[in-house]
């Protein structure tokens, strides 16, 4: 799928503090207007992969030491985040990270930082259309908002930048099931209506595979499996370890010793 590819990671390695190697040759490719989901257990390197793309690795003393990241035909690895964001790649950080002492509306306005002339009026209206609860709370300090409101806030804030590639890191983290459904519906709408390409990192594999076109499974800093969402959903290993449907019918946890052994086979 050479044409219509927006982003390509070719065999990248990432090292923190010059010694801690976290990614060991990760390759993936993201088609234009697709939702691609990146799954894997804790510590697999999902967040690190996103930060390698967005350039935020730099602030944590991390570096892409091998391979390259090609966005719209240009190598962007190790560029500073100011440059990468201005090319249309915006990352929504894990754990939400609002500006606590700014109001909802001021938080949203920070999203215009990459745009010429810092226009915000029209965009605010669009954000409030996607996330109606934000409108009611627009004068409230973000520090006092609920988890669901905050997830809407940080996604809305990213949308204010008109991203072409949106990197979402665990948007469902710690949210009630109904709110999760709502968030995923909106992610799908953003993808369809704004034409935004999305990389979705998730623990909630069943939800992620529902809206994604394609998925990658990561373990220990490597991609161990990939496929279209439909294929992945049918894969017995995925079923057992990510969708929580054991062969015997009862749910298994990631931390199962047995699952760890099984995963080794993919390496």
């Amino acid at each position: 799928m050479a044409d219509g590819v927006l982003l390509q990671l070719n065999n990248i390695s990432v090292v923190y503090s010059d010694v801690i190697q976290v990614l060991k040759g990760v390759s993936l490719s993201v088609g234009e207007n697709h939702i691609v989901s990146l799954l894997g257990s804790n510590g697999a390197g999902k967040t690190t992969t996103l930060k390698a793309i967005s350039g935020l690795l730099k602030t944590e003393n991390g570096k892409v030491t091998d391979g390259d990241i090609v966005y719209r035909g240009k190598s962007i690895q190790n560029s500073p985040p100011e440059t990468i964001t201005r090319q249309g790649i915006i990352q929504v950080l894990e754990g939400r990270q609002p500006f606590k002492y700014l109001t909802i509306e001021e938080n949203l306005r920070v999203g215009t930082a990459t745009r010429w002339g810092k226009p915000y009026k029209k965009d605010l209206a669009l954000i409030y259309d996607y996330f109606p609860p934000l409108k009611e709370r627009r004068k409230a300090l973000a520090g006092y908002c609920s988890g669901g409101e905050l997830q809407m806030l940080v996604m809305g804030r990213a949308l204010m930048a008109h991203p072409q590639l949106l990197l979402l890191d665990e948007p469902s983290l710690g949210l009630a099931p109904l709110v999760v459904m709502e968030i995923f519906r909106i992610i799908e709408r953003i993808n369809k209506e704004q034409g935004t390409t999305i990389i979705l990192v998730e623990q909630n594999a069943s939800m992620a595979l529902k809206i994604a076109n394609y998925g990658y499974i990561m373990e220990n800093g490597k991609i161990v499996m990939e496929g279209s969402s439909a294929d992945l959903k049918e894969n017995p290993d995925i079923k057992e370890f990510y969708l929580g449907m054991g062969a015997s019918g009862d749910a298994k946890s990631y931390r199962d010793v047995k699952s760890y052994k099984r995963r080794k086979r993919w390496l």
């Binding site: 985040p81 964001t85 606590k100 306005r109 930082a113």
Partner: protein, 292 residues
């Protein structure tokens, strides 16, 4: 009663100037967590740049004042670019020690050029600005100082509340990784904080210099007063810095007026110790929002 009002006005005008200077200090601290030990020297530099424009360049005040402020603004930018930026990412203690070093360098340069003498300005403010009421007599410079202080506080208040740049600056102070993720140019924000800090420090240096005369040592040590001011106001609150400045200004003037002039310089530090004991985050320090 008249004496009281007289002191009140004097205290307020000095307090506004302290507040402005402290505001610059807090801005640097909020955006980059750096305590700027060269703040007094920036105040002194502002005053001397103004002096040079008036005496050497022979400019009229209405030109010299804005030009001196622009000079301070540029100076702040340059200082950040040359000295602070290479240290971004290094442990904070290095950066803070660097500002201590900068303080001596600035002081050395000023002593080299102007020596340790006291310079006073000719009386250039029109006498019509003075306010006379009963036996109360407010000299023009105090009137001007209150007017300038208020104007700039309002301008900066509006800047931080409504302008995009102001909101970006607050976002960096609030959560730097998140600001970076949205493409806020954090290094530009640092540079802008230094530029604005140097501007407001320089401005309060200029007006204090008009009130008390300009002397390298006096103005530099005035910089130390930002510590009681910002501790009183809460180290991370810009509004608090201004109110802290006004309180310290009033405390000083009332102590000088009612108790003894030799006590007036000690009182701010007594207040500092007292406040730290009862309210370690200052009167207006941000209360950590815990719920997220």
């Amino acid at each position: 009663m008249e004496f009281f009002i007289q002191l009140l006005v004097n205290g307020l005008s000095i307090g506004f100037l302290y507040g402005l200077a402290a505001m610059g200090f807090v801005m640097i601290f909020k955006s980059s967590s750096v305590l700027n030990f060269a703040h007094g020297e920036l105040m002194a530099l502002g005053a001397f740049i103004f002096l040079a424009m008036i005496t050497w360049a022979g400019l009229p005040v209405y030109l010299a004042f804005p030009l001196a402020l622009a000079g301070c603004f540029v100076l702040g930018f340059v200082v950040e670019r040359l000295f602070l930026r290479p240290l971004i990412g290094e442990p904070l203690i290095y950066v803070i020690m660097l500002t201590v070093g900068l303080a001596s360098i600035f002081k050395g340069i000023m002593l080299f050029i102007w020596g340790g003498n006291l310079y006073t300005f000719p009386d250039f403010l029109p006498a019509g600005l003075a306010i006379h009421w009963k036996s109360i007599n407010i000299p023009p410079v105090y009137v001007v100082s209150i007017a300038i202080g208020l104007t700039f506080l309002i301008l900066f208040g509006l800047f931080f509340k409504y302008s995009s740049q102001g909101i970006y600056m607050r976002s960096v102070a609030d959560n730097q990784p998140a600001a970076l993720s949205l493409g806020v140019h954090v290094r530009k924000v640092f540079a802008l904080s230094w530029a604005i800090a140097a501007l407001v420090a320089g401005m309060s240096g200029i007006v204090l210099g008009i009130i008390n005369g300009i002397n390298v040592h006096d103005l530099s040590s005035l910089g130390l007063k930002v510590f009681p001011v910002v501790i009183l106001g809460g180290l991370d609150s810009i509004g608090g810095a201004v109110i802290g400045g006004i309180i310290i200004g009033l405390l000083e003037t009332f102590t000088g007026g009612y108790l003894s002039t030799s006590l007036r310089d000690v009182v701010p530090y007594m207040a500092l110790v007292f406040i730290l004991m009862v309210k370690p985050y200052g009167l207006f320090g941000l209360v950590e929002i815990e719920r997220v």
